[in-house]
Amino acid sequence: MMAPATLLVPLDGSASATDALSVARGLANLKGATVVLIHVGHDALAPDELLGRMGLSAEDVRGLVIDQCTGSPADAIVREAAARHSAFIVMCAPAQPDDPLNAIESILGDVLLKAPCPVVLVPSMQGRQPWALRRLVLPHDGTPTSAEAIAPTADLASRANAELVVLHVATPDAERPTESGTFVAPRYLDQPQHEWPAWSREFLERVRSLCYPAKIEKIRLVLAHGEASAAILEFTRKNASDLIALAWRGSLEAERAQTMRQVIREANCPVIVFRVQS
């Protein structure tokens, strides 16, 4: 398999779009990749004009590749990511308070649906602050499908020597998953003094086994209660988190991906979305 050579940062010409840059640099360092800034617009701009419009100095872009392309933004981003074997597409999460996927449906939604690689969404509050991966939060509902996000998440955590927090949210009204091999909070708690330690151990061992080939030094399980997105957001706010890794089953139809929508909208740290096969 060809090693990912690039991280793609699409820019629309607005200064706020460059807020993803520090996160992209941090992730590129971890993956040994080159950051490619790609400006997608109707017209090709001269280099100085391009940097000026993006509010970037020559120092800001030292070591980066800057390119331009035209056409439908989402299609162009996806096409460039595929052509450049991008490890990730790193872009700003929309600042609008509305549903982010509706607000920029023609871009972010399309990119998520068509991207050949995971997509990292950086909240606008990130600004140009330096970013480093020290704590990575992986919400995991216990299904084998969502477990597909474990290995690539573990890879990141391992490269950064970051703490991997596996967050399992027990949601009161949620139906019990029927997928074979699912492991959720125990239905039967015969004796909590035995069930909880055993369940925690088993949950974590399953996750650990799926981290392969990455070896994770710092990993812990947290059980939270309540609605999934609220619990994820609360945990990451209270526990200085640098990245949230979400497994997404690839549907943006109404009533689907509610957790992802909410987390992208309100997270105070970047969110990486791994598309998994449901």
């Binding site: 949620a174 959720v184 909070a185 004796q191 035995h194 399953r206 086994s209």
Partner: protein, 796 residues
Amino acid sequence: MRSGAPVIDRETALAPGRVTGPSARVVNLPLAPSSDPGWLLVEDGFALVREREIESVFAVANGYTGTRASLEEGSRLSQPVTFAAGIYADDPAANLGPALAVLPDWPHLEITVDGDRLSTETGQVLEHRRMLDLRQAVLWREWRQQASSGRITRVRFLRLASLADRHVLLQSVAVTAENYAGRIELVAGLTLPNGRGERGPLIVTRDLATVVGVTPETSVAMATGSVAQPKSEATKSHQVLPTDHVDERWSWEVGLGETVRLDRLVSVYTSRDIADPADSTRSHIAKIQERGVTALAGDHVNAWSRRWDAAGIKIVGDDEAQRALRFAVYHLVSAANPDDEHASIGARSLTGQDYRGHVFWDTEIYTLPFYVLTDPPAARALLMYRYHTLDGARRKAKGHGYQGALYAWESADSGDETTPREVIAPDGSVVSILTGEQEHHISADVAYAVWQYWRTTADNNFMVGAGADILIETARFWASRARMEADGFAHIRAVIGPDEYHETIDDNAYTNVMARWNLNRAADAVAILKREQPTSWKQISVRLALAEDEPVTWQRIAAALVTGFHADTGLFEQFEGYFGLEEVDVIKHRDHATPIDVCLGREQTRQSKAIKQADVVALSALLWDEWPRAIHEANFNYYDLRTAHGSSLSPAHYALVAARLGNVALAQSYMRQAGEIDLANNMGNAAGGVHIAALGGLWQAAVFGVTGLRLREDGIALDPHLLPGWTEMRCSVQWRGCVLRVTLATDPPRIEIEVDGSGELTITIVDGPACLVRSGRRYAVARNGSAWGAWRETVE
């Protein structure tokens, strides 16, 4: 395995003739799988995350040792564990008490093909199938693996823990070079799994025997023997570091399509059996090698055949129930050893590390009836464990300021309490654990089991030698535990009943009724023994320093104990104040992913009427004849709506009582729920071992619920309620030397009974005719409309 009855193609399942090489030379394993797919649990493919569930569900055990069904070569998630019953190790790092010791991973076997080690995690798995053969108690595995070199190797395994000689473990493997000629090497060794040697027990290997020093006083010895076909180049190498062990290697140069086979025998003895277990394994391995693998495997299959004859349940018309009940009986038989009265059955039997092998009330209330009615010597051995740990129970009672015997809520080898005081939940909260302090009904549960065993078997030797001590000492405990109060009644305050959502409660109905029962039966036992065993009785009364008036005191306290019964409604109030608690919609929560107490939180649950498991309904299951049917019905209907079934013990008791009440659809639903606890594919609960008490409860739901069987002083009573779709049910039970083979059928509605063994007894149909039956004869009775006709003797 999980979705419906498995379909086995005998032509492909471990059949020897399927080798694809052009000049296959076939070598068979010493047994073949059962031909009826209804006896096979099948797991096709390989899903890493489910490994531990499969390891538990497919475990092989014989009550002396138990071995999880881990892949021989291991995987990232394998938890290869072998236990010996009653062998516990202390773990100072844990606060959960001693745990069953992990013994060397005897089935571990590495297969190397021209230098490449076979693994499901490298190369390509072409086929992978595991089968638990319930009838023969054999774990089968078939695996076709293509290495990155393109070499295709076919491997067939069998594994068993002999029921004929519990010290024997057997593994057989056949390896076929399907599309190559080359070198096949097998490597085995008795090492502790997953590097446990670094912090685990000391292992010493000398003169064929590997000895594991579990504690300074306890050791387990294993010795191995092997037979290779064709004869191989075999070497042994003794390694000292990192752990002391012997590696054995067998290697062959094989031709295209050629198969080689290795049979490995392992002998196990522990210092609980014999002073020098190493010496015993050495002599034993020589003896069993002489007998030969095929004969040993045959002995094992024959022993299981006898157990199935005595304990099997046949269901016609419901394959799912049939599979669940066979699975239950398989693990129940695997869990007990009639020859060992110093070990009992832990919550996960010998199939997993969860619960550390600790013994709870589960054993006496949920599993023991199976043994009482199908294998009385095993039941006796389990009760003797309680006798041998009686001093621990006395110490606990004394420590709490009571008299007599208060059994440990969690018991290991000594009988002393091993329940921890707190646990840290995964959300970081510290959960205080009060069961060890407050869940006292276990003493009455043990007494209940003693009485049931005694009255069903008439084993007076047990009673005068041990059972009376348990009954009397537990009665003494209750006599000191209950307090006469100003209202003129006796109360038992600050306890936990089976419903552990509500702690530190007063006058739990289950506890008080069972205590009353314990006190009365102890007084009855004294009267019976005085009358029928006067000589022995004198020895017992001296041994226990029993005052003449003690039984009268027990009866007086029993009569004064409040039970929470409300005559106006026919309901038992589960504990004082329960009826005033808040109603919550328990039904809504039942299918949710999160248990209700986790959703609501501990305090809100405590303030609600939501209950964890059968509590008052458990009384109906245990003491049916104490109250009329209407009382059972009223309480069942009331508590069914409020039971969250947050314990795996609960659904089976509800199934039992629903069946007795004739609510067969609900009974079937609860039986399915009980059967899915280990067999469903989305639970994960089984990863730490099977829920042996739930399996015992499932058997009871069928035998006590569907047949309506009740034990009487003159025999048994039946009140059949076949479940929807069941056209026939057959089961066997034993009563005082008589073996009864009972058939219930719907077309036409009838009961047939074949009596074997020795003696006679009365069989009564509830609200119907009775019949005195004798061994060696058959009887039948038919129902016309709603009325049963007369019993008649039949000829085969």
